[in-house]
Symmetry: C2
Subunit: 344 residues, 2 copies
DNA sequence: TATCAAAATAAAAACGTTTAACTTCTTTGT
DNA sequence: ACAAAGAAGTTAAACGTTTTTATTTTGATA
């Protein structure tokens, strides 16, 4: 027995396939009574819309492309693990819609650029979600030029306005620094993501601004940029703790680097809360299990990810991008006093 | 200007669309010279196959459904993070093929069952990759009954043979236990995944077998089953360390639970290597950053994930499932001596 | 050179849907 | 009472491909 089509329903009801099609999509051209008959018949025969027909006819793909930048296979590091939660959040937001998440794993920025170019020009999806935005992001421009719906996870700085979701990095860093200064810290390290990422710049600027306000000097030796792996956090601590005037606080951009920082503490014999402290930005709620638990700004990743999903839906419906911008302020979770007794 | 189709090429070359179609798929029915002409023309006009037409005509979807079981949004726990790497591995394995990974996030087993039922009956994908297998898995049976290509990440115990990829849990646990026994441990705890998962049973059986061989008694109080979150690892340590005769070694099923176990150590004032030790199964290579680093069986997750990708491709090509089964033995990484001085 | 089989190409139908254009029927306004 | 307008439905074409069937071309043979 074949899968029923609108033709099946047409025969079943004696109506034409055009009417069936219209009835099923609630066109005002068909009478409510007729629609009821059609719907009943569809129900009876177990009809389900065949997307392939729709896609061919309308050119819509009903796919949302999620561009996932993950390091290559050789690169065995704890990086980008929050992507799992990000994807599931997006997927759930699309659940009630006919759209599916189609995954495009890429190794680096260039690949993501090429992939996006292809998706846009060959219309392999109806919308794109992309993360790891740069200050001036060519991918954003490509999609804007083609008038292609997209949402970024992360802001840009020099691009025209577009739909985005991001944590409020600016506020987060300003308050982090201010709080540490209040607690007597004068040498605060910033473990920052890759320098070309937009939020690295935002964080750095906020950091410098906060230092200014506190009347503290900016020391480039206390700022590092790289991929946010544990290895990076570890190396940073190993290096900076050897400075003549080492930091008493480390602000880590995520939990992976914070974990690595702990590893560096262990290696150097540093004790958290005595020699220095670690703060972090948390989106997996894992810092509470560190020993000791650390103070973090916590933004449960499902929030931005579900927002990404609903934004791309609304963007594909034609809503203007200006209405689809969210900066979310993470919640401060103070798990540690974070005071450090000044040496001597 | 419209996107070129085979019709464009037909006009361009003066051939019929049937010939174009055949030429482009290397049918022996078309002369090499003709094919050359067609290919050249296709190149010239920048032709790309339109999948929608193909899909409608052939019924193939060129989608591989990846069923991702992730806890609901409220459930803010570090769980299932390795899924990100899993998905990217699969996605890379499919890169050269026309197939794409389509993501289906589900909250629990029942949802995954329903989702798979739907994918199979409505043919929403050409193949399925599913994880979290149970000893007797109804999803496997559904797919087998429908003769639907699939690969599981994880074995089953009571199902008919099918394609799978898994770590060799049996060997891993046997050797883990034997190694700990060699180092003087007589009370070894097993932090195991949910009891209905196939690998929980495999691990438990191996654990009992290894204890038997070592002449040690089996104590049910030393075995716990639950979702592998840090919270679970932590709770397990908090509880077990209060036993009259507490364990001196904890074998954790993944890194999340191992991290939680450390948190439990910290809470109880236990020192790793003095009071007890933690071993784990590692697929993200993160245990090296614990303080102190712990001994693990390491299986870089990209290995099984790329295997999953290539297996599903071969399965969709019609290879028999018996040829597509892999049990991978993780590599022992001894980061700690793991001897514990007996109390008193 | 005529014949025939084989090889190469063309024609046409089909996959399931949407939609523009058309027909029929009913209602409304003068 | 009748034309015009509106409502509800139908017809037919179209989206881009594959594949079955039909037709033409080619080359070998008698």
């Amino acid at each position: 027995m074949q899968r029923p089509t609108i033709k099946t329903i047409a025969q079943e009801t004696g109506l034409s396939i055009a009417t069936i099609s219209k009835a099923l999509k609630n066109s005002p051209q068909v009478r409510p009574e007729t629609r009821a008959i059609v719907v009943a018949a569809a129900e009876r025969v177990g009809y389900e819309l065949n997307m392939h027909g729709v896609q061919l006819r309308t050119g819509k793909t009903y796919q949302v492309a999620a561009i996932m930048t993950a390091p290559g296979p050789k690169q065995q590091e704890w990086e980008g693990v929050e992507y799992a939660q990000l994807l599931s959040g997006i997927s759930w937001a699309l659940e009630e819609s006919p759209y599916r998440v189609s995954l495009y794993a890429v190794r680096n920025f260039e690949e993501s650029l090429a992939t996006i170019r292809q998706i846009v020009s060959l219309k392999k999806a109806d919308g794109i979600i992309v993360s790891g935005t740069r200050a001036d992001d060519p991918r954003v421009r490509i999609m804007q030029d083609a008038d292609f719906p997209f949402v970024t996870y992360g802001t840009t700085i020099h691009n025209d306005p577009h739909a985005y979701v991001d944590a409020d990095n600016e506020q987060m860093i300003r308050r982090s620094v201010a709080r540490l200064v209040e607690r007597g810290h004068r040498r605060i390290a910033l473990i920052n993501p890759m320098a070309d990422l937009s939020y690295a710049i935002t964080r750095l600027d906020a950091y410098r601004g906060a230092l200014d306000i506190a009347g503290l000097p900016f020391d480039p030796a206390l700022v590092v940029h790289d991929r946010l792996t544990p290895a990076f956090g570890r190396e940073s601590v190993l290096t900076m703790s050897r400075l003549p005037d080492p930091p008493t606080a480390y602000i880590c951009a995520n939990e992976a680097s914070a974990l690595g920082a702990f590893s560096g503490f262990h290696e150097r014999g540093l004790v958290h809360g005595r020699d220095a402290v670690i703060n972090a930005t948390d989106d997996l709620n894992v810092s509470q299990y560190f020993a000791p638990p650390i103070t973090t700004y916590f933004l449960p990743i499902n929030e931005p990810s579900e927002l990404l999903g609903s934004y791309i839906l609304r963007r594909m419906e034609g809503e203007p991008p200006e209405a689809l911008q969210a900066l979310i302020m993470p919640k401060l979770i103070e798990r540690s006093d974070d005071r450090v007794v000044p040496k001597r």
